[in-house]
C-alpha cells in the first residue's frame, strides 16, 4: 500500500515537474521570438518540412475524411433529414472538428516524432552541448524556428484539409450517393458561418503549439542512447495526441459555447 502511494506521489510530482519545465521552455521560446527575422532561414526550412513533407498524408487523409463523412451522413440522414443538409453536415463537421483534429493527430504525430527524434539524437550525441559551448542558445536556434513553423503551418494545412475534404465529400456524394451537385452546394452555403472556419483555425493554431512543444520538450530531455531517443519519440507522440484531444474539448467549450455564442 505504501509503495503504491509512493508511486502515485512520484508520478504526480514528476508530472508537475514536467509541466513546470514545459512552461519554462515555452517561456524561453517566446522570449526568443524577437529573433524571428534573424532566424528566417531556419524558420522557412522548418515550414517547408512541415508543409511540403506533410502534403501527401494531408491529401490522402482529407479525401477520405470527406468521403467517409458523406457516406455516414447519407446513412444517418436518409430516413429523417432532407439531403440538402448533407453539404451542411460535411462542411460543419470538417471545418469545426475533423479538419483541425485529424490534422493535429496525423500531421502532428509525424511532426512531433520528427522533432523529438531529431533533437533527441542531437542531445545524446552532444550536438546540443556543442551548440551551447559555441554560445548559441538551442532555444533560439533549434526550438524557436520549429515552434513557429508548426504554429503557423498547422492552420494552413487545416485550410487545405478543409478544402480537399469538402471536395472529397462532394465527389463521393455526387458520384456514388445520388445527391445532386446543386443540392450539395445549396447545403454547403445554407448554414455556413465564418465562426465555424475561424474556430477550426484557432484550434489548429493551438494544436500546432502543443505538437511542437511536445516534440521539442521530449527531444531536449532525451537521456541514454538509441533506446532513449525511441522512448522520448514515443512519449512525445502519445503526449501530443492526448494533449490535443484534451485541448480540443476545452477549446470547444471556450470557442463555441462562450466566444462565438455571445457574438
Amino acid at each position: 500500500m505504501k509503495s503504491l502511494l509512493a508511486s502515485i506521489g512520484r508520478a504526480v510530482t514528476d508530472g508537475l515537474d514536467g509541466a513546470g519545465r514545459g512552461v519554462l521552455l515555452l517561456r524561453a521560446i517566446l522570449f526568443q521570438t524577437p529573433h524571428v527575422w534573424r532566424m528566417r532561414r531556419e524558420i522557412i526550412e522548418q515550414m517547408q518540412i512541415v508543409a511540403i513533407g506533410s502534403l501527401p498524408v494531408v491529401v490522402v487523409t482529407s479525401i477520405f475524411v470527406g468521403a467517409v463523412t458523406a457516406v455516414q451522413g447519407v446513412y444517418q440522414m436518409q430516413a429523417y433529414v432532407p439531403m440538402k443538409f448533407l453539404g451542411t453536415v460535411i462542411s460543419k463537421s470538417v471545418f469545426i472538428e475533423l479538419g483541425p483534429v485529424l490534422m493535429a493527430l496525423v500531421v502532428g504525430s509525424r511532426l512531433c516524432a520528427n522533432y523529438a527524434a531529431e533533437l533527441g539524437s542531437m542531445k545524446v550525441t552532444e550536438q546540443l552541448d556543442a551548440m551551447t559551448i559555441m554560445a548559441i542558445d538551442p532555444n533560439r536556434f533549434l526550438a524557436m524556428p520549429r515552434f513557429w513553423a508548426a504554429v503557423l503551418m498547422m492552420p494552413v494545412l487545416t485550410v487545405f484539409c478543409d478544402l480537399i475534404a469538402v471536395l472529397g465529400g462532394y465527389a463521393t456524394s455526387v458520384l456514388t450517393l445520388d445527391v445532386s451537385s446543386g443540392v450539395f452546394i445549396e447545403g454547403l452555403q445554407m448554414f455556413y458561418k465564418h465562426s465555424d472556419l475561424l474556430g477550426g483555425l484557432i484550434k489548429s493554431f493551438v494544436f500546432g503549439g502543443i505538437i511542437a512543444m511536445s516534440g521539442i520538450y521530449y527531444g531536449f530531455n532525451t537521456r541514454g542512447g538509441a533506446e532513449g531517443v525511441g522512448r522520448s519519440t514515443m512519449t512525445a507522440v502519445v503526449g501530443s495526441c492526448l494533449s490535443v484531444l484534451v485541448a480540443d474539448y476545452l477549446l470547444a467549450i471556450v470557442l463555441f459555447q462562450i466566444v462565438f455564442e455571445s457574438t
Binding site: S121, M122, T125, E126, Q127, D129, A130, M131, T132, I133, M134, A135, I136, D137, F141
Partner: protein, 270 residues
C-alpha cells in the same frame, strides 16, 4: 586479504584569491548522478597558457569535470573560477561571453549532422560576427587546412571517417580563436598514426595560438607527448598533479598503476 597502499595526500591546489587568478580554479567540485558520486570535492588549478592533461580510469568523471568548467553541468557543491569569474554565478549574457573564449572538442566530435562541414565550422562566425558569407567560408577553409582537411568543406559529417570527424571538430573548436581549448578524449578510437596527427595538431595549436589546453584522456603515449603538466583523477578527486617528468618518476601507487597499466593496485581494488 586486501593490500594496504601508502597513498600520499592530494596535492594542494588552493589559491589565496581565486578571483584574481588568471587561469582556471576548480574548488571542491562535487557532482552526483542519482546515487553515483562522480566528483567528490575535486580541486585543480590550471595555469594560463599550459597544456594540462587529466588522466584517470574510464568513468572516473574526467569528462564531467571538463563540462563543469564551461557550465554544461552544474556542480552539487564547489565553485569554478575562470579568469576571476565565478562561472556558477554568471548571468546568461556574461556566460555566453565567457563561452566564446572556449573551444571544445567532443569525444565523438559532435558535428551537426544536418550541416556541411563548412557550415559546422562557420556557424559560430555566422552567429557572433557580421562577416559576409564568403569571408566565413574562407575562414572555415583556413581552419580545415590547419587540421589537414582541405576539400572536405562541402561534405556532410556522415561522409567522413572517425579521424576526419575529430579533425573537423578541432577546426570548429579553433575557428573563433579561443583562449582555452578543452579536448575530451581526442585520440580515443583512432589508429596510432591518426592519433599522433591529432597530438601534433594539439601541440601546434598550443604553440601557434598560445591557448590554454585541457585534455582529458587515458591514452598515455598521447598524454606524455602533449602535456606540460598532468593531473590524475580518481574516486572523484584530483589525487596527483605534476610535470611529465614527475609523472614518470613518481612513486604514487595510483599513478604508477595507471601508467604501467597494471590490474593490481589501489585503482583496481575498489
Amino acid at each position: 586479504m586486501q593490500q594496504e597502499w601508502d597513498i600520499p595526500p592530494p596535492p594542494d591546489q588552493s589559491v589565496a584569491d581565486p578571483a584574481s587568478f588568471s587561469g582556471i580554479v576548480v574548488e571542491g567540485v562535487s557532482k552526483s548522478f542519482g546515487t553515483k558520486v562522480v566528483l567528490d570535492g575535486a580541486d585543480l588549478l590550471i595555469h594560463k597558457g599550459e597544456t594540462i592533461v587529466i588522466i584517470g580510469r574510464s568513468g572516473e568523471g574526467k569528462s564531467v569535470l571538463l563540462k563543469h568548467i564551461v557550465r554544461l553541468l552544474e556542480p552539487d557543491a564547489g565553485r569554478i573560477w575562470v579568469e576571476g569569474s565565478d562561472v556558477q554565478t554568471l548571468e546568461d549574457g556574461p556566460l555566453m561571453e565567457l563561452r566564446r573564449k572556449f573551444g571544445f572538442l567532443f569525444q565523438g566530435a559532435a558535428l551537426f549532422d544536418s550541416m556541411t562541414i563548412c557550415r559546422n565550422i562557420g556557424l559560430a562566425l555566422e552567429e557572433h560576427t557580421d562577416w559576409p558569407a564568403a569571408k566565413i567560408r574562407a575562414r572555415a577553409c583556413e581552419c580545415l587546412a590547419q587540421v589537414g582537411l582541405v576539400g572536405a568543406e562541402d561534405k556532410l559529417p556522415s561522409e567522413l571517417s572517425g579521424g576526419m570527424k575529430k579533425r573537423a571538430g578541432l577546426a570548429r573548436a579553433i575557428v573563433m580563436e579561443p583562449r582555452y581549448i578543452l579536448y575530451d578524449e581526442p585520440t580515443t578510437g583512432l589508429d596510432p598514426i591518426t592519433s599522433d596527427t591529432i597530438n601534433d595538431l594539439i601541440i601546434e595549436l598550443q604553440k601557434d595560438l598560445g591557448v590554454t589546453s585541457i585534455v582529458v584522456t587515458h591514452d598515455m603515449p598521447s598524454a606524455f607527448k602533449i602535456a606540460d603538466r598532468m593531473a590524475m583523477l580518481s574516486r572523484g578527486r584530483i589525487v596527483f598533479t605534476g610535470t611529465v617528468d614527475e609523472v614518470r618518476t613518481t612513486a604514487h601507487p595510483m599513478v604508477r598503476q595507471f601508467i604501467e597499466g597494471r590490474s593490481q593496485g589501489p585503482l583496481g581494488t575498489f
